[in-house]
């Protein structure tokens, strides 16, 4: 049995499904093949982002943060609720509903845009066709012919040999989202974005969390001033983050899981009830390509592509987490849009320089562009200005006066080179910076743009003034 399309997209995560919808809107006959299996065995579109990543984690972060507020913030407002209790089952049910709502939404979008959604596992054959093994029946195979093929198979969590997943007590990020109760003692290997977010969730719900990060710097990819300020905040929240801690082995016993690690002070052990391994993700390309397709993988398994996401084999493209670049949903989505436009003969390009990164802890961390360290390393002359939320009226009214906005601008041209935010709603505030940087705005452009009062965004305004040592609401040093 064989069907023929203009475009076949393999993977229905944020890169794949967006590419499919855009391709269909461009008039191309499109199919999107996906094999995600939910915990209940059913199929769902949306990939890691909707099912086991972005969305469920944000739902849990929201619920847990709200619970945290009842215990730590309500009193300041004069609200007395006694001893609030967390019903984890209800929290999980809410999350599951949101996920199913959104994944069902993708199926609906496919339908309304005439994208043929196919439930199955796809493989690129060397003759250029796509072989699909049906989701419900591994013996049922069909061949898809396509003029263009887009590989968007995403990524999967890296597993450690010294702490292999057992889906119960030693879990990956997906497993960490599904705990039925908050573990008493929770260990997290990996203090990056995912480890921090997941650790935060359960810590707010009562777990004693220990995060073991192998690097000596906390959040090494972020601006260090922000990183260190964040570390201080997390310490205040009693999130135990141990840096320079390299895990050497684990043992499971009756008392729990023993985690052995080494740091500059020597060898240590901790015992936890559950262990999350969040040391990174690797591209999911292992069974994707038949021998001889000509599509090249690098030594880490990423599909090699040029700046237009073209693999080098005619009409075969790759986007999202399975190719180079930050493993971010919005990066995958925009690559999907670019490729869908290129396939339709339009002009399209991606700007990789201005992609925002966000960590949804509390306080949130968000940044776009270069860090101070990167500018120093590249020898670029810059000036910096920052403004603390402690001096921002809205933040104070929100009981959230923590963190700062920091803007880095070129010393000569004043062009904004990087913006870094630690604080409330950093995830939303960063959008102003991204837009400004797309238009190559200067710090002065932000200075001369009216920001409403009272808002958190005024901190961006003041930070831009601080770049030139003209902040109104802070002492300029």
């Amino acid at each position: 049995m064989s069907q023929s399309f203009d475009v076949v997209v393999i993977g229905a995560g944020p890169a794949g499904y967006v590419c499919s919808i855009r391709a269909a809107q461009n008039g191309l006959k499109t199919a999107c093949v996906d094999n995600w299996k939910s915990l209940d065995g059913k199929h769902a579109f949306g990939g890691t982002c909707l099912n086991a990543g972005c969305i469920p984690s944000k739902a849990l972060l929201e619920s847990s943060e709200m619970f945290h507020k009842t215990q730590h913030e309500f009193a300041a407002h004069g609200i007395n609720v006694g001893n609030p209790h967390m019903d984890v089952a209800v929290m999980q049910a809410r999350k599951a509903k949101i996920v199913s709502n959104l994944t069902g939404g993708i199926a609906a979008l496919f339908k309304s845009n005439n994208v043929t959604g196919i439930r199955g596992t796809a493989r690129l054959l060397k003759n250029g066709n796509v072989e699909v093994t049906a989701f419900d029946d591994p013996k049922q195979k069909e061949i898809l012919e396509a003029k263009h093929i887009v590989l968007a198979t995403g990524s999967e969590p890296v597993e450690l040999k010294i702490a292999p997943f057992d889906r119960k007590d030693i879990v990956d990020s997906w497993g960490a989202l599904e705990f039925a109760n908050s573990p008493k003692r929770l260990g997290v290997i990996g203090g990056g974005v995912i480890g921090l977010e997941l650790g935060s969730v359960w810590q707010r719900l009562g777990s004693q969390v220990t995060i073991l990060e192998a690097m000596d710097n906390f959040l090494f990819m972020a601006d260090q001033q922000i990183g260190q300020a964040a570390a201080r905040e997390f310490k205040k929240q009693e999130l135990d983050i141990r840096l320079g801690a390299k895990v050497t082995g684990t043992d499971k016993g009756k008392a729990g899981i023993s985690v052995h690690y080494e740091d500059k002070d020597g060898k240590h052990d901790i015992v936890v009830d559950k262990l999350i391994v969040a040391v990174g993700r690797r591209p999911a390309t292992s069974n994707l390509l038949e021998e001889g397709t000509g599509v090249k993988l690098d030594q880490r398994g990423f599909i090699q592509v040029d700046e237009e996401c073209h693999t080098g084999i005619k009409n075969i493209w790759a986007i999202g987490d399975c190719v180079r670049g930050p493993m971010l949903a919005h990066k995958g989505s925009e690559e999907g849009v670019m490729v869908a436009d290129l396939m339709a003969g339009k002009v399209a390009e991606m700007n990789y320089e201005v992609i925002p990164s966000i960590i949804y802890t509390w306080p949130e961390i968000a940044w776009v562009g270069k860090t101070e360290e990167e500018l120093k390393k590249q020898g670029i002359k810059y000036k910096a200005g920052s403004f603390p939320f402690a001096a921002n009226g809205r933040a104070k009214a929100m009981e959230a006066a923590t963190g700062m906005v920091k803007i880095l601008a070129h010393a000569d041209t004043d062009e904004i080179l990087g913006v870094h935010i630690l604080g409330p709603m950093a995830s939303e505030m960063i959008a102003e910076a991204v837009l400004a940087m797309e238009f190559r705005a200067s710090a002065e452009d932000i200075q001369r743009t009216i920001h409403a009062h009272p808002t958190l965004s005024e901190a961006m305004h003041e930070a831009s003034l601080a770049v030139d040592k003209h902040a109104i609401h802070a002492i300029n040093r």
Partner: protein, 429 residues
Amino acid sequence: MSIEIKVPQLPESIPDATLVSWHKQAGDAVKRDENLVDIETDKVVLECPAPVDGVLKEIRIQGGATVTAGQVIAILEPGVVAAEKSATALTASSKPPAAVINETATTLTKSSAATVSTPASRSDMPLSPSVRRLVEEHQLDPAKIQGSGLDGRLTKGDVLEYINKGGELPASTGSVTQPAQSDAKAATSMTRAVSDNRENRRVPMTRMRARIAQRLSESQASTVMLTSFNEVDLSKVMELRTRYKDKFEKQQGIKLGFMSFFVKAVVEALKRYPVVNASSDGNDIIYHDYWDISVAVSTPRGLVTPVLRDADQMSFAEIEKSLTDMASRARDGKITLEELTGGTFTITNGGVFGSLFSTPIINPPQSGILGMHAIKERAVVVDGQVVVRPMMYIAITYDHRIVDGREAVLFLVSIKEQLEDPARLLLQI
């Protein structure tokens, strides 16, 4: 206050020059930097731009005359005539250029220094707040500054760089229209004589445009194209349309246009001269026993040719409906690749844009294309009498490698005969 327009400084060792031709007449409004007249020397042709906006009050020396450097050739009355005021106000008070050919330009600059500077208004590209501030502070003309930002916008850095460089363009932009022997030194001293605001916008072709360009080049390179013409008296067709258009629209649900008549006439003619419907492939001629007519449609992104498949089996209404549907989908970018490929013969209508007479290019691998043009009432002779008829020139461009003149000409005659007597469309003769 009037300005004397003088012959610019001539390149070294050239005693005199010829005033070639005036681009403007006395009384015309002129804009700053607009070329007023070409001045030709042995080596180069120079332009003489207007130093400011205004009206060319008087031309003192006519075209063809010999002139010498510094000679007054016209009088310009400065004044705001065009809609854009701000550019003038700003430039007038900007720093005087280094090499000056017209003292009057300097005089003008000085006298306008007292002009109250108006805030920089938006030019084509909106200016960001910091750029606006710099432009106002330094009395700059944004149009003179190279923008490196998104879509060519000015960034603060662009403006700062411009200011740091003294607010001038580098001397080498002095442009001459005909560098027979480019005299570099002359070019430098000529900098101020020519417009210093020439910008070339390099825009990469869209993929679609590039593809169209490539296909047309290939068509031209691989076929031997020749065009033959004829004319059609469309009075009988128009009469038919007028008589039945309301009924047609009511009963068939679509307007009765011209295309259905042409498609039907074309299909009949193709049946009679099948080689025009064929394609060439190496040393073979491939005859097609089907008639898929491509119809050229203009879209914002370029020309596309949706195909009417088996046009011989389509009725007038079906042809009109299909064309309307495909044309609107093509314009919205919603047409599929399948609908655009194939086709054994093409019809293109330049008449919708007003073309009277043209030589269309063949769409490979087809061997012929019919060009329709504008319908114009013309005086023609019928039975010895001069009458007014709505006439259309029709053209067939054919691939002479497989189609001979005889077939092409007779093909066109057949179309003419069918359209001039529409009963023949019905009877297929």
